[in-house]
């Protein structure tokens, strides 16, 4: 009905001065920028979250569902393993800044993250969460290190081992 007019307003086509609206919209888009808080808010947040319980994660709906994520994780593990085997041997003299390492790291991380996302739907033992946290943190640190030094081929292997360990533990937690 009035969709056309509304859209026209959105686009600034029939408003007073097409050029003015277009310029204004570009300027408004330019306001989208980060703004650090003037004070470090972390101490206050830390104090509050220490007293704030996290919401319980949604656990698996039934035992039947457990095996779907397990199968998914297994296939991802296999796929990652195959890709890893097919990769050329780590270049002993990698170029100073090797974008391939970052790309491989991202690809590997995304594959594993997908598997974890599926596994997360299943029941896991709470006592395993500490170990999961350690490994996730390690993976994040390795990814950051790769981002900072894309020539470090050994980090890729370290990342693969960390993720493999994480997946192994997750699978164990789901199966038992």
């Amino acid at each position: 009905m009035n969709t056309h007019n509304d859209n026209a307003h959105d686009n600034g086509v029939h408003d007073n001065g097409t050029q003015v609206d277009e310029t204004l919209r570009w300027q408004l888009r330019g306001l989208r920028r980060d703004l650090e808080p003037q004070a470090d808010l972390w101490p206050g947040i830390a104090a509050r979250i220490a007293a704030a319980p996290q919401q319980a994660a949604t656990v698996g709906k039934s035992r039947v569902r457990r095996f779907a994520p397990w199968a998914m994780a297994a296939s991802v593990l296999l796929a990652v393993g195959v890709v890893w085997q097919m990769m050329p041997a780590a270049q002993p003299q990698a170029p100073a800044d090797n974008p391939m390492i970052r790309q491989q790291a991202v690809s590997m991380a995304l594959d594993y993250e997908r598997a974890f996302a599926h596994l997360q739907q299943a029941d896991t033992h709470p006592e395993m969460h500490g170990a999961f946290g350690e490994l996730d943190r390690s993976a994040a640190q390795i990814l950051s290190a790769i981002d900072a030094d894309p020539s470090a081929t050994f980090l890729l292997e370290q990342l693969r081992r960390t993720y493999a360990r994480r997946l192994q533990l997750t699978q164990r937690a789901v199966m038992t």
Binding site: N2, I49, P53, Q55, E113, G133, D147
Partner: protein, 199 residues
């Protein structure tokens, strides 16, 4: 962040950097969801500027209040993380949570004068303290946006600054899509008036 080689295209660089950031966020979030406060601090350090930025744009940079809301948004994120399904990027999820937190604050003021529809009563309220930031033009624009009536400002910020669609805005603000469009039109008119037609 290390600069990539010139051999890599600019877009590829941006994509890869964004993917590394997203996967790092996901790993940290997974760890934080299991109760790792250290991982959550890393998430805070990585996203405080983005979260605070959108909150300031929505409620105005009224010093402590905007910072209180930023803190509140992160506490809510901590509480909600175990239920996060990783179906969107952590940064996207946090951004939306920040918007929701800011809008809840605006809604809580709905009965008061600041969320009324009478923009004439609102002149001078919510002035952004942006001294020292950006150009004179963007400062003027920021200030002009900050003086808009809260509801019109929220729609304008979400649509024209954050890039949301009317359907998303309407859903978040609990209004009809047509109302969102009308508010946007009104906000732009008010803004042009306040900028003296120089925009």
């Amino acid at each position: 962040m290390t600069m990539l080689t010139a051999a890599m295209s600019e877009s590829m660089t941006d994509t890869t950097t964004a993917e590394v950031a997203a996967t790092t966020d996901a790993a940290l979030a997974r760890s934080a969801a299991a109760g790792d406060a250290g991982a959550f601090e890393s998430i805070y350090r990585r996203h405080a500027g983005r979260v605070h930025g959108v909150i300031v744009r929505l409620v105005g940079a009224q010093g402590v209040r905007a910072e209180d809301l930023t803190q509140e948004a992160f506490v809510r994120a901590w509480q909600a993380l175990p239920k996060f399904r990783f179906e969107s990027a952590v940064s996207t999820w946090l951004h939306r949570l920040a918007v929701t937190t800011a809008l809840m604050e605006l809604r809580s003021r709905r009965g008061g004068p600041r969320f009324d529809e009478d923009e004439d009563a609102l002149d001078g309220l919510g002035m952004a303290d942006s001294a020292g930031n950006g150009t004179a033009l963007s400062m003027d624009l920021e200030r002009a946006v900050a003086t808009l009536p809260p509801r019109a400002r929220a729609v304008l910020v979400l649509h024209d600054v954050e890039g949301w669609k009317h359907e998303e805005i309407a859903n978040e603000l609990g209004m009809a899509v047509g109302s969102s469009k009308a508010q946007l039109h009104r906000a732009r008119q008010l803004l042009r008036g306040r900028l003296g037609g120089e925009a």
